[in-house]
Symmetry: C2
Subunit: 135 residues, 2 copies
Amino acid sequence: MSCNTILKAKGYRLTPQRRVILDILHGGDAHLTADIIYEQVRDKVAGVNRSTVYRTLELMESLGLVVKAELHGTHVYHHSEEGHHHHLKCRQCGRVVELPEESMSLLRETLLEKQGFAADLNHHVITGLCRECRE
Amino acid sequence: MSCNTILKAKGYRLTPQRRVILDILHGGDAHLTADIIYEQVRDKVAGVNRSTVYRTLELMESLGLVVKAELHGTHVYHHSEEGHHHHLKCRQCGRVVELPEESMSLLRETLLEKQGFAADLNHHVITGLCRECRE
DNA sequence: TTAATTGCAAACAATTTGCATAGAA
DNA sequence: TTCTATGCAAATTGTTTGCAATTAA
């Protein structure tokens, strides 16, 4: 089911602004900041406001269409169907390593089974000490 | 090894301000925001500055003495020896449920073994849909 | 003594708000 | 026609910075 369909099904309106923002989230890189998204929106359509971007992202997040994560000190967004992955972030050297989705699928199953909780688990940042910094 | 000892061992100074902040982190609730910490510091000692609180928290975090997490939309801090736990946060109703530490210990072992990464994993927030909101 | 740490005040970034208007359904 | 969504401008929140003065070691 497409984002557009989901939006309408829930009674939300599909405005041009939302359409553009969704386009960007689907077409672009992962890890887009609100600011980058805003700039890309402006490149396509003039006169779109920053608060609209924020409001749209918030709505999409609540619907599960968009995932928000904290990375490199800021918030990043990406659409939720994207290839999931996670990050290991060393709290000492700051280095970030990507991690395949499977590494957490066991956890997902456990949570679903024991808590009835359907975890998104599609963009997690785990801090700790990397091999090098453990010396 | 106490925080004080660790600080000194790394060549950092144990100032009254840092002492008070560490006290608060050890004595108080979990989930303290920078702002709450600041207020509690002021209750004990006058004239402490906000930036000192931020700088101290940043230092403690880099040393692994303090853990920072994002919860309820803001950053919360707590000392790292505290009973670890995690959170399941429903992205629809916003409800937050606590989760015991053990639920992620398997993940920790896997990461250590396969990546050589010593994950802190002591205060994670996992978003998803709770049982009720999955309808 | 002296380099690390602090207070101060100001700057900064990211995000949110209220309200009148525009526009999707 | 109706009520959601937007633009605007301003306010807020959270956090960081440069620099001179202070102070732990």
